[in-house]
Symmetry: D3
Subunit: 248 residues, 6 copies
């Protein structure tokens, strides 16, 4: 089985982090390739960048997906998830969607923790869009990470630990989603410090992607995820123009 991990952020060090995390949860018969965005912001952090990342994820997927069995979308807003799921004929899994679905299999309600105050509304909307808001107890923030913290997230552990135990005590959260691709490979380090499971999404998405590949479910022929009809589409990226000219 071959998995393609797409990081539509344009920061290769983030891709390396998430790919390393992703590889800790693959079965012996699974290979994982990771690609990084070229267009868009280094680290996507708001609504308009989310829109850019969705198209960049499409570009990367159309370019690199052939020959793979599933795609893991490693960006915490799940940018472009619905687009890729329609456009490709292999499974596509988003990291925050995967974190939420997995959290519900180990806990009643989960809380989501992010960094910086402006992204909270995006996650609130995401949970509602997914119809999962009844299982999300709250969305909380710590201050925006500094550059130092982005490269060494362990610096934020003490504040994080306090916030987690507070949300467990006050908001009935039984699992924590620590959002952001850069936390992908340190959730395990936080686990011993707190009383509840801590998920990030990347590894969870890799788990669900493997499951979907083995299930070999039918690509929908009807509904909103069927492949679109060929049609003339003008776009600066050739790979996108070509994709619409013939059924993928």
């Amino acid at each position: 089985m071959k998995l393609l991990l797409i990081n539509p952020n344009t920061s290769p060090f983030v891709t390396d982090m998430v790919a390393a995390a992703a590889r800790t949860v693959i079965a012996p018969d699974v290979e994982l390739t990771a690609v990084t965005g070229t267009y868009g912001p280094p680290i996507v952090s708001g609504r308009s960048e989310d829109a850019l990342a969705a198209v960049e994820a499409m570009r990367l997927a159309l370019e690199h997906a052939p020959g793979h069995d599933a795609v893991v979308l490693a960006i915490s807003f799940d940018s472009g998830l619905q687009a890729l799921r329609e456009r490709l004929d292999i499974p596509v899994v988003g990291m925050t969607e995967a974190a939420m679905l997995t959290a519900m299999a180990v806990a009643d309600r989960f809380a989501l923790i992010t960094f910086g105050y402006h992204a909270r509304g995006i996650y609130v909307e995401l949970a509602r869009r997914y119809g999962l808001d009844a299982r999300m107890s709250t969305v909380l923030s710590l201050p925006q990470l500094s550059d130092e913290q982005i490269r060494d997230p362990a610096r934020v552990f003490p504040a994080l630990r306090n916030l987690i135990e507070e949300v467990v005590r006050k908001d009935q959260a039984e699992a924590i989603i620590l959002s952001g691709a850069i936390f992908a490979n340190i959730c395990g380090d936080i686990a011993p410090l707190v009383s509840v499971p801590v998920l990030n999404g990347v590894r969870e998405a890799v788990g669900i992607a493997q499951s979907l590949v083995r299930l070999n479910l039918k690509k929908p022929l009807s509904g909103s995820y069927r492949l679109p009809e060929p049609k003339p589409v003008k776009w600066p990226f050739d790979v996108i123009e070509r994709a619409y000219q013939s059924p993928s």
Copy 2:
């Protein structure tokens, strides 16, 4: 007051139709300019095209919004609505959002009617994303419109009338959203044929946009709709690259 109507579809005849509809509901002190997409499909009809249209809407908005007081987004998936609302410092209103908000001010529950069976799931998700699903009784379809019907929507009136009265009788709908930019200027023609109000969204969005301009509400300085920080963003469209370099 100057309104900018953005049609990120690349079909100028659609822009003409919606602009004509839009102009029927503007106050004497309002001017409306309409622009059409260059990139993307002629008529957006699915999830991946929605992602393209979001970025094309951004491109058009960044190019044309300066000098205007509000933007009306004339595409029935509200493609890019959240992105524009964050990125611009003037109000932005989506047509289906506006149709739903307005329907709730004249009826208890509304039904949405679309053409072709694959878009229904997108509207179901949109209503849930907006947190308005409790007020939407159902989403129904008539078959995909033929080219002839797209250019002369009155041909579909008999089938439409029957479907509307059925949904009124069976699903407790008290208002109908007839989705699709191309229906913008014929809702009035359908009205005498049926027993409930019929909305489309374009004219409703123009109404709400005018209201928002006169309200002159503060652009948020916090939360998910505040303006993003300047950051280096690579993108094929210059206007997008430039926008991220300095606060808009």
Copy 3:
């Protein structure tokens, strides 16, 4: 276009305040007339007074609506909104409904702030009744206003500012509805002090009312908002008795 603003409270100074606020957002071709209640409490503040205000609003509407194009109901419980919307053949907009619908066009979740602790449950119920509770983050209170504060609401600004920033930080609110007709014309004064849009409802209702008039949607002939059949109704107010005798 002629708008009728109905204040079913019996305090003329409140009507003056809200009418002044309302007039700041009307188009050049719009006139606004305001009427004040005769029966009921000076300022409606609870559930049983809400029931009285609903009937008083009906009395005022039946008396004064003829010759107008829409009604704005300037009472923060939206007392009688459903009754008027059924009974009249012109659009009727409630101020809190309008505040909520408008808040959703500029922010993800809104919080509502009221004065005195007993009204919170009424707003919680109102949001649920409207099916908008998923977009309301919380309802908060400051202590009941003193008479001095009712006549000079700026005295409450420091406490209000602190509460707003707290709800923004803690409850992910991205817009604030400052409930109560008496705040209608000072929202603009609070705006510079806080980081998010502040709505009141009166001006928002005037905006939506103008939109509905220009849309010229059909009065429903079916459903719960169609005009009731003539029937014998005994009531102390002649205008109400007469209204039921013949179709309005």
Copy 4:
């Protein structure tokens, strides 16, 4: 224990029917008095009449409640329920609220059946207002009852039986609320004809009212159901004016 049954409809024969039904479910130590409305329509059937009935229910309650231990509100829109619950210091139970609460103690989801198509939206809104919509599978209608059927509801049994079995089969309803005060004493006659429990609300409200009296719960001193402060209220009904002058 003394119960007061209030029928704010002005049709004494309806009061007789519901009082007879009510008396079939009272304990040996319970007496029930029934009063009929003087003002308002003979049989309330829409939104504006609901507003009138709410005030008429208040008038009747303030006049007749003294000396009773609880009030049962025998009108299927629960007109004035919240107002009475705040205004009186004894329990008040609405018939449709009681039907819903009771249905949930014998079945998973219930359907509500009404007569005439225009009231459906009112019940949809009522269930949402009560936060019980997840347990209501649907609201259905049979045509408006003729005068003959109002006086002899058994005539409608065949059509009703078919509708009930259809909603059981198609909408997963496990209990039926047959709405309308006039059905109060014939639910028992329908029961043998169908496969699920049939509730009406009047008898269920009498059951809950007895329970509340024996529970002797505290009248709230805070929140939206506490007694309002004395205040000057002008109203054509003396009993209402007097009530606001001093704490009840």
Copy 5:
């Protein structure tokens, strides 16, 4: 009327407490018998014990229900409620279900208070399962009760009073469910100390059970609460094996 109160906990002193509380709210023509569990934990406090208690409740019900008119299930997780409601042909009422249904007839939103932090998620899930989460403002905990406090719950009054007033102020709760069978007969003692009604569930369940007996609703012949078909079931408890051999 004969009521059977089932306490599937194996602590007779708890049964005595709840039976005493239950008897304070029965009508003159009602007798109440109480039985205690033999199998399972002394006091059920978590998810796996809930599963055991459900079967123990079934065993007790099948053994003791014959000759009774309704069953009251006196365990705060409502363990086995759905099973008994299907299996018996008399009404069955759970204590927390009854507390929630009753709270909604006296207040808008209720909060639930429990002891020890691990049960909160169970109540959150219970409210969601019942479809009543929109009316539950929050679930809060005080620390696990000590043995001394279990036998003399008044010791916890000061902490409880503070928590109740805090949840009233902060979470818009208008009624409190003080969960746990052992609080059944002290809610009345707490009432004078706080500003809102305090419910426990046992007495409320006895009230609803009496109502259901007098209503004499039909045992469902279809849906998920109809009696199961006879079938061979092997089980260590004879009474359970026998029940499945012939229609109860």
Copy 6:
């Protein structure tokens, strides 16, 4: 990795069917053992049998789980899922929960199809309990399977195919959950006949279980899924009594 599949039904041929289906989706490094219930009904089909199956699942899990890395619960009501998840320190996945979570990763809304009309209410409640009802479009039934159909489910394909296409067309379902352990290994045979993915739950649960094992999330130390304290529990099954005597 060693997975334990628990079928608390007492029909070994069902266990064989589901184990065969389960083995089609395991990674090369995974072994799967399956066990069948001894106590309870041959095939669980209602609410009281669900309660028995929950305890039988506990008995089987406590007996057989040691030495395994995760448990898959192969019964379509997910009987005992919450109990096992608390009681064991390895992941536990229910088949219908897994079907729902997986369906949401390939489609917007799913419909669930069952056999016989009485189980529908149980699935409606299950979706609500899981907080996933917004994503479930409906629950439908075909008539109860005959013995012949249970052993040769292909006989039901023509009726099933028609029902699936109808629910796709009418209820906006984009994926189908074909509920019932006996359908575990024929979903693949139905797939070519219909236009949407068909899930059953057993294979999906095996996929999620593998994912959870590789994720190695922390067993909660707080909340409703933490391990219960040792306590004296009397129960006919030794393995259950012993489990409560010392932390598992």
